[in-house]
Symmetry: C2
Subunit: 211 residues, 2 copies
DNA sequence: TTTTTAAATTAACAGTGTTAATTATATTTG
DNA sequence: CAAATATAATTAACACTGTTAATTTAAAAA
């Protein structure tokens, strides 16, 4: 009995080791450029051994996807200490934005890449738990803002969705390289540096007048 | 002399034929799933012949990227007949959204994929002409709205960027599959169908009160 | 008609994700 | 303890991928 438990732990240890190597490579070279063979070499095992621990490559992408949501969730923890709902909403967006800029590869796996979501669809559970939970945090905050007089006569779900879409839009345009090109053509050099912050502050300004 | 001109035309003809086949496959199976060999087979030529007409695979992605912007530009043409600036802005967003939903693969090549933008960066011209032009249309419309009393005391470039980010955010969340999961968890079945329209109408409602 | 030039092709390289068959390693049983 | 069994890991193999270099074919010029 004790034997088997130890075996389970050993298995988990190898699982973790593989994921650690996959993470290093994914975050360094990106998903497509990271091959199973490279991961295996880094982990000191045979390429096909990975398939004894993960179903396929997208399975590993999903594992990192989950890890990313854990990190983001931890960063959201500080929001609990923010009493004022609107301040909390503002801080939430800032954290989200900062997370995307500081962890672009995690962000890509979490919100841009199709693979992790497709992996979910291929599995029995067709629920995107991580995303739904994160969206719920936003939804609750928006609902709290409504109680304080914001977003009158608007569906809080629609408001939350729009805010998410806006911030995600900024992040993805930035990370995919589109934003820089447009910024270079339409904004002064001084403004280019902090386009994202400027845009976000503009958003806050707009929302602020929606009392 | 005449000979050479005819040759140039022949070359262009083959170029078009290759691109046509690439387009079919890209729009059917996606960029990654489309191989040079499949394109060549469809065009009835040898795989390596493609490299006599296009630098590499990302070059063809960029060619389709340009084609997509031509289509979108044509659909934007009707906006010229809309006198009222705010109505024009509303219509612009609707056209953009519809284009994304009706041409998801074009949209992906134009606004999500890194390859076309990266191809630009590798070339001498580091300008994203198509994107900048499209953004300019939006920028002018926002500026016109400002003259009519909207977006007071706000930088029109910031407003335009936020609107683009919001609509793009909705489109990309929808196309990558994230939106459907969240909608399934938080919205009733009746609302799921037209989440995008509902969200966009919500946006218009919010902006409308920004006079 | 021969020479030159350009276009298209085949062969080849160095990889990719993944499955099936095989070997090595523990674990359990006689 | 030795033999049989179960499991973990490996090698071999498949059917691909984008791309380059060398070679052949076709057309134009001399």
């Amino acid at each position: 009995m004790g034997r088997k438990e130890k075996n389970e732990q050993q298995r988990e240890g190898i699982r973790q080791m593989i994921l650690k190597e996959a993470k290093n490579l994914f975050l360094k070279d990106g998903y497509e450029a990271t091959s199973m063979r490279k991961i295996a070499q880094g982990a000191g095992i045979s390429p096909t051994t990975i398939y004894l621990y993960y179903k396929d490559k997208s399975d590993m992408a999903y594992a990192l996807h989950k890890e990313g949501f854990k990190i983001l969730g931890k960063q959201f923890m500080v929001l609990q200490s923010v009493e004022n709902a609107f301040e909390r909403l503002k801080a939430m967006g800032k954290i989200y934005l900062r997370f995307a800029l500081e962890n672009p590869d995690f962000y890509e796996i979490m919100f841009i890449m199709k693979e992790p979501i497709e992996f979910l669809s291929k599995q029995d559970t067709c629920e995107w738990e991580e995303g739904e939970q994160a969206f719920n945090s936003l939804l609750n905050t928006v609902a709290d803002c409504k109680k304080e007089g914001f977003f009158k006569e608007m569906d809080e779900r629609i408001v939350a969705l729009n805010i998410w879409a806006l911030v995600h839009g900024l992040c993805s345009l930035k990370l995919q390289g589109h934003l820089d090109h447009v910024a270079a053509a339409h904004l002064g050099e001084d403004m280019q540096r902090d386009v994202l912050d400027d845009a976000y502050n503009g958003l806050i300004l707009m929302i602020s007048s929606l009392r």
